[in-house]
């Protein structure tokens, strides 16, 4: 058996191959947790799940040998008052590797934009070293802090550790559990106005407000299936909201792109080929450049962001800012992968949060009433039609909702029928 710092590790010849190479290795992370947690325990620290990371090494090495998973799903969500946020996991090698027989995941609601103070992160580490495997994902697919692996009886103490993280572990604030199951999943946001000059609305505040207002929807799953909200500050969509959320809020503007002609010239002087890199790449041919002045035909601009991305010092989104709402984005099961489509072409930034809440609540009421088990809201709209959906959210049809009008004349004239 290999021994590191006085700690015996299991033989893992296959996993060891993944310690090689320049990219940081997750195997090194698991080994590190195995070694350091045992050292910490020997030094007198409280570790409630000894050997967990070592157990994970053993299971994973077997998976690499057997080319299959050794995890089974558990349905337990044993945190007081909540119906989500814990993913039950059991190992099918209970007798061989009892250290990880129970290995449940906890999802923890991250701060909007994934900004942290080290005080907060250290506090989470201290609590998780004590009550879990000491292994995490920063972050999970939806955005939560993922705490990988603990036993059923430690779920509530760990939830309490997080709820009192300020008092017990010196965090600047406590942390709450995130979403899972048929509920509102933890909303997420791009860095927005915190760091980015492209942000057309306050993504972090919007994300925080939705999360706080809908704690009940996030923690008590009652819907047909999951529902995701993501906030992107501009059409570059750095949080992939169009594909990864049922309700994507994409920052945009309505008026003219702001141009600083001097800055354009500086870019040209510095070697940017304005004609080739900007004018020719405009998807609607809305830009012209005579070597002195950059002109944008704003009536023809579709706000795709390309020119602004290339010339950030010279071009800025307009002043009349807000967001477009896309509805229905989701992964393939069951009716196929969907990128969300336009449900509301524009909401001004100062009305955005309240208006979104109004629309969200209308959607949830309707979907909860009409959705079939496991039917995402986008699939329900496909089944009953956009016209029904537009009534629900109180929107008039707008040509901006489609690339083109319908292909066939089989129109349902329901209002004319007796």
């Amino acid at each position: 058996m290999p021994v590191v710092d006085g700690v015996e590790l299991p033989e893992t010849p296959l996993l060891d191959e993944l310690e090689k190479g320049p990219w940081p290795s997750f195997v090194k992370e698991i080994k590190r947790a195995a070694v350091e947690s045992e050292k910490a325990m020997k030094a007198g620290k409280k570790i409630k799940l000894p050997g967990a990371a070592k157990g994970l090494l053993k299971v994973l090495e077997l998976s690499y040998k057997d080319k299959r998973t050794h995890w089974k799903h558990g349905g337990i969500v044993a945190v007081y008052g909540y119906g989500g946020g814990v993913i039950g996991r059991y190992c099918d090698l209970e007798d061989k590797i009892p250290e990880v027989w129970h290995f449940h995941t906890m999802r923890i609601n991250m701060p909007a934009g994934w900004f942290y103070s080290t005080k907060a992160l250290r506090a989470i580490c201290d609590a998780w070293e004590k009550w879990g495997s000491g292994l995490t994902n920063l972050h999970g697919s939806t955005g939560d802090i993922i705490l990988l692996g603990t036993r059923t009886e430690h779920l509530q103490p760990m939830a309490n550790a997080l709820a009192y993280l300020d008092k017990l572990y010196g965090s600047p604030a406590p942390f709450d559990i995130g979403g899972s199951g048929s509920d509102l999943r933890t909303p997420s946001a791009c860095m927005g106005p915190a760091l980015c000059e492209f942000a057309c609305y306050d993504t972090l505040e919007a994300c925080y407000q939705f999360t706080i207002r809908y704690q009940d929807e996030l923690h008590r799953p009652m819907w047909p299936y999951k529902f995701k909200i993501k906030c992107s500050g501009c059409p570059n969509d750095c949080v992939a909201s169009k594909a990864r959320s049922d309700f994507a809020i994409i920052g945009t503007w309505k008026d003219e792109i702001q141009i600083d002609q001097e800055a354009v010239k500086e870019y040209a002087k510095a070697g940017v080929d304005i004609e080739k890199q900007v004018v020719k790449k405009c998807p609607t041919g809305a830009i012209s450049w005579d070597g002195n002045e950059l002109k944008i035909d704003n009536k023809n601009c579709i706000r795709c962001m390309h020119c602004i991305n290339v010339l950030p010092k010279a071009l800025k989104p307009g002043k009349e800012r807000g967001a477009t709402i896309l509805i229905g984005g989701k992964a393939p099961f069951v009716d196929g992968a969907i990128i969300g489509w336009v449900a509301v072409p524009f909401i001004p930034a100062d009305e955005l949060i309240d208006k979104c809440c109004e629309i969200l609540e209308a959607i949830w009421d309707w979907w909860d009433e009409n959705g079939k088990f496991r039917e995402r809201v986008g699939e329900l709209i496909w089944r009953v039609g956009m016209s029904e959906f537009l009534k629900v959210i109180g929107q008039k049809a707008d040509v901006r909702m489609v690339y083109a009008p319908r292909n066939n004349p089989f129109i349902f004239w329901r209002e004319l029928q007796d």
Partner: protein, 376 residues
């Protein structure tokens, strides 16, 4: 003998608290970020991995980005915190693609930071791009749990990502690509890491229906909810034998039944594997968002380093990087040269498995505007 009193931990005695939500982001922001919130003027790329952000106030912040393996031990996170305390005033950020970022006010500290991170953590600096120059770096691969923690994976996630990033390392640390390229991995088609709109996606695929172990079904499962879990109605209860019957033609190998019922495992070491998809994108820039398209229906699971998958991804990436014009993402490049040329240049084989035959996505969807790009 006096019975020993079991001492309870404070966490075991406290009243549970609910519905207080995440910390407000404002207490997690670096003072320079807080002071210039919403008032950033512009940014420029200093070198791969380092973005200089300039505020209207004149304040300057250098954001330095490093790739992480996503799976992190609390011990490494503490090291990250030590570095953030030393260089970044005790604040840091993670990106949506598992990179970690530090905030510097003194440009002279950039090099020492990069060196210290490389020495202590082994994390490479990079993952950025310079749109002004039209020079792009590869960013980190978003991925799912795989064999580390998932019960329905058709492949591992972290292992493939590590092997691919080892091979593409220089693309991460430098700006050598013509445009953005987002690589993603989902360990099964349920796609908890929704990868269906990535430039290159690796997706774990099951190819055989679940194996029903009648005994285990009787012992461990609850039949009505198992039947109801099937999204395509492929399962029927067999009340007499107290088990379930599967219509193989309707099954799409999602593993939802295995979630409900451990008696019908979906994994299959020899038949599970990885499909490769390309040409998805989500930004509205230049060309509208696109769903990824399957270009390799299956490659074998070949742990620990999946050479077939790694080489296929590398081949696609480098063929595109060689032939694409500036700013052309894979979708835009293929739009220009055609799928005929894509298969010719990459040497990938076009087979009947790549022709759509999944009927459920409605025709009406093709006219919906999947983008925020439109005229006013």
């Amino acid at each position: 003998m006096v019975a020993q009193k079991v001492e309870k931990e404070p966490e075991e005695e406290l009243e549970p608290k609910t519905d207080f939500g995440p910390p407000h982001y404002s207490i997690m922001l670096h003072p320079i970020i807080k002071n210039n919130y919403g008032k950033w003027k512009y940014h420029e790329v200093v070198r791969p991995g380092v973005i200089k952000r300039v505020a209207e106030s004149g304040d300057v912040l250098y954001v330095v980005r490093f790739g992480s393996p996503r799976l992190l031990s609390v011990y490494t996170i503490r090291d990250i915190c030590d570095i953030a305390d030393k260089y970044s005033d005790g604040y840091l950020r993670f990106t949506s693609r598992n990179n970690v970022e530090f905030f510097l006010t003194d440009p002279d500290k950039i090099e020492p930071l990069i060196q210290e991170v490389q020495e202590k953590l082994g994390f490479p600096c990079g993952g950025t791009w310079d749109a002004t120059k039209g020079e792009y770096g590869l960013t980190n691969i978003v991925h799912t749990q795989g064999w580390v923690h998932c019960h329905t994976p058709a492949t591992d996630a972290s292992g493939i990502v590590k092997a691919v990033m080892d091979e593409l390392y220089d693309y991460f640390t430098d700006h050598k690509l013509p445009a953005l390229c987002r690589i993603s991995l989902a360990c099964c088609a349920n796609m908890c890491g929704a990868v269906h709109a990535s430039d290159i996606a690796m997706v774990g695929v099951h190819r055989k229906v679940p194996k029903i172990d009648d005994d285990a079904v009787r012992r461990t499962c609850e039949i009505p909810s198992t039947v109801a879990a099937c999204p395509t109605g492929a399962l029927k209860p067999d009340m007499k034998r107290k088990t379930v019957i599967l219509d193989k033609d309707k099954c799409m190998y999602c593993g939802n039944c295995y979630t409900m019922c451990p008696g019908m495992p979906i994994f299959d070491p020899e038949n599970d594997g990885v499909a490769i998809l390309v040409a998805g994108k989500l930004s509205d820039a230049r060309y509208p968002p696109q769903l990824s398209k399957v270009v390799v229906p299956w490659l074998p699971n070949n742990p620990p380093r999946w050479p077939e998958v790694v080489q296929t991804v590398k081949k696609i990436l480098e063929t595109w990087a060689t032939h694409a014009e500036k700013y052309e993402r894979i979708a835009e490049w293929i739009h220009r040269i055609g799928w005929e040329r894509f298969f010719e240049l990459t040497g990938l084989e076009f087979t009947e498995k790549l022709i759509e035959d999944y009927h459920r996505t409605p025709y009406l969807y093709t006219t919906f505007r999947t983008s925020a790009a439109f005229r006013w």
